[in-house]
């Protein structure tokens, strides 16, 4: 009972703090660039984000981008205050945009995830994948380039089949329609457990570099940093916001 009351007070304090900080705020523009997110969920995420910020009296407009070119073009046009971007894009563009990271995405206390290259057991060297095909969830050109460099091939030397979920990439490999799949280690383990038959001839050929989860970053013009920092840090407190976190593949922002 006491614990419950404490929680309610904490929420109330957070809410009041945001309200106070937000006293004179106007509509702010927030850009989102997360090509790995499922496009079918964008509308829900947009609505949930708008509703969440409305609830705490923050008037923000959200714009989603699938391509970096569109993101870059729109930055000039809309002059946004804030962005949630994939980590590799943040590291690549932070100096260009004078970005400052205000929060990082976490999944069960983990700041990053690892992808692996899966292929057939009889393949010993990942360079053998040159001139073959790979299945993967949609990747941004930059992250794809990074992975290709690690595999030791260029993008033109490999053909990519784009899927929406790791399971599709693994099953495509299981059915020998492609020669490799780039997936998260946890997905591979999950499928290995559910359908050992599909994975019995497959193995992890290469561990790709760790990738951090998406980041909340501010453009230099943002004034009310605290509001956003508190709001995003508390986004996981409300069950309604689960779709937002799911879209970014995280459990909270810290």
């Amino acid at each position: 009972m006491i614990r419950y009351q404490c929680k309610t007070y904490v929420r109330l304090i957070v809410f009041l703090t945001i309200l106070l900080l937000n006293k004179f705020i106007y509509a702010e523009t927030i850009f989102i660039f997360h090509p790995e997110g499922k496009s079918s969920q964008i509308q829900t995420v947009k609505t949930d984000l708008t509703n969440y910020f409305k609830m705490i009296n923050v008037n923000a407009e959200f714009y989603f981008f699938a391509k970096r070119e569109d993101f870059d073009r729109s930055v000039e046009r809309f002059d946004p205050e804030l962005a949630i971007v994939s980590s590799y894009y943040y590291y690549e563009m932070k100096e260009n945009y004078n970005w400052k990271e205000i929060l990082s995405g976490y999944n069960n206390e983990k700041k990053s995830y690892k992808k692996v290259l899966v292929s057939f057991k009889n393949l010993n060297d990942f360079r053998q994948l040159k001139n073959n095909s790979l299945a993967s969830v949609q990747l941004d050109t930059a992250s794809l380039n990074t992975y290709m460099r690690m595999i030791g091939v260029s993008q033109s030397e490999i053909r990519i089949v784009s899927v929406s979920k790791d399971i599709d990439a693994i099953m495509a490999l299981g059915f020998e329609q492609v020669q490799g799949a780039i997936v998260t280690r946890s997905s591979f383990n999950q499928i290995e457990n559910i359908n050992p038959d599909a994975t019995e001839n497959l193995k992890i050929l290469l561990e790709l570099s760790e990738t951090e989860h998406p980041k909340v970053v501010m453009f230099p013009k943002l004034k009310k940093i605290k509001i956003y920092k508190i709001s995003f840090a508390n986004i996981n407190k409300d069950k309604q916001n689960i779709s937002i976190l799911r879209y970014f593949g995280i459990t909270d922002f810290k």
């Binding site: 095909s133 089949v161 929406s164 099953m171 495509a172 559910i194 038959d197 593949g249």
Partner: protein
């Protein structure tokens, strides 16, 4: 001096010839049976995966027009033709016997004997049962026995193949033969103790406009609190739990891959078997999931699907 000029001229001719040949090698045409949003998604998926390809599209507008197809092929001189839908595929194979043809979006292609031709291959519409049930098991691992009502005339082969495939993932499919669509509920009741979920096949003999089998199936599954797995998102609105259908963007990407094998790697279509679709599009009905699972539901299941009905409705 004149000799040098001739050499340069010859060199330019060779260069021009190689450029035009290379250019022609990248030319692909789509022939679609009719306009559908899925077709546009598919073509975009193809272009995104294969940005170098020069793409032209012909819409048959639902009419078998061989003349239109002939003229289009003659005009475009493609390296490969991609036919979307049964009408487009059947019309094109009749007029074109040499240029490689890839078909997709053809339901039950095995029954379309015309498509067996040496310059033809494709991607089927049938998602393998192993893929469907691996996806299902990720969400509902506790359900291990699934009833499959079907018409033996139409679907006996699919059911027996699926039984073998799903055995490997420890899911037991219970074949429920329904000779007459009006008997579906009766047959389901008769076998009730044998299964804890139902799989609806795309069986046109059972489910069509003249029968009420679909309505009865959905009503029964809801009354019995049984998960119903379907092949189209459209049935979720009526009360089905989970759909696994083709992801058309991925299908476009898969067609791009096969196209390059044929055009660039010079692999003959006759030695490329018709492939199963690689990408799936899964949707879960959240309210039905809550009704069936109650408090046992774990929100983590929603991370494994493409869309949550009706949460992600546009």
């Amino acid at each position: 001096m004149k000799k040098n000029k001739n050499i340069i001229f010859l060199f330019l001719c060779i260069l021009l010839f190689s450029i035009t040949t290379a250019y022609a090698n990248e030319r692909y045409v789509f022939i679609k049976s009719k306009s559908l949003s899925q077709v546009d998604v598919l073509i975009n998926g193809f272009k995104q995966s294969y940005s170098k390809a020069e793409v032209s599209v012909l819409d048959l507008e639902g009419k078998r027009n061989t003349g239109k197809v002939k003229t289009f092929i003659k005009e475009k001189k493609p390296s490969l033709i991609i036919c979307l839908g049964s009408l487009a595929a059947k019309t094109t194979v009749r007029v074109e016997k040499n240029i490689p043809i890839l078909f997709a979006m053809v339901i039950n292609y095995k029954r379309q004997k015309e498509l067996v031709q040496k310059n033809v291959t494709g991607v089927s519409m049938e998602i393998p049962a192993a893929v469907i049930f691996t996806q299902f098991k990720m969400i509902f691992p506790e359900i291990k026995k699934i009833g499959v009502p079907h018409s033996p005339v139409n679907s006996k082969e699919i059911v027996s193949d699926s039984i073998v495939a799903t055995n490997k993932i420890k899911i037991k499919l219970i074949a429920i033969e329904v000779q007459n669509p009006s008997e579906i509920e009766e047959k389901l009741i008769l076998n009730r103790k044998k299964y804890s979920g139902i799989w609806m096949l795309a069986d046109t003999k059972l489910y069509n406009r003249k029968t009420t089998a679909l309505q009865e199936l959905i009503k029964y599954s809801l009354n019995q609190n049984l998960p119903l797995i379907v092949f189209s998102e459209a049935f979720l609105k009526r009360g089905a739990l989970f759909s696994v259908s083709i992801n058309y963007k991925s299908l476009g990407s898969q067609l791009a891959l096969i196209s390059r094998k044929i055009v660039l790697d010079k692999i003959k279509p006759s030695i490329i078997p018709v492939a199963s679709p690689i990408g799936t599009y899964t949707v879960i009905n959240k309210s039905v999931a809550k009704k069936i699972m109650g408090n046992k539901i774990n929100d983590i299941i929603y991370a494994n699907v493409d869309k949550i009905y009706a949460e992600d409705e546009d």
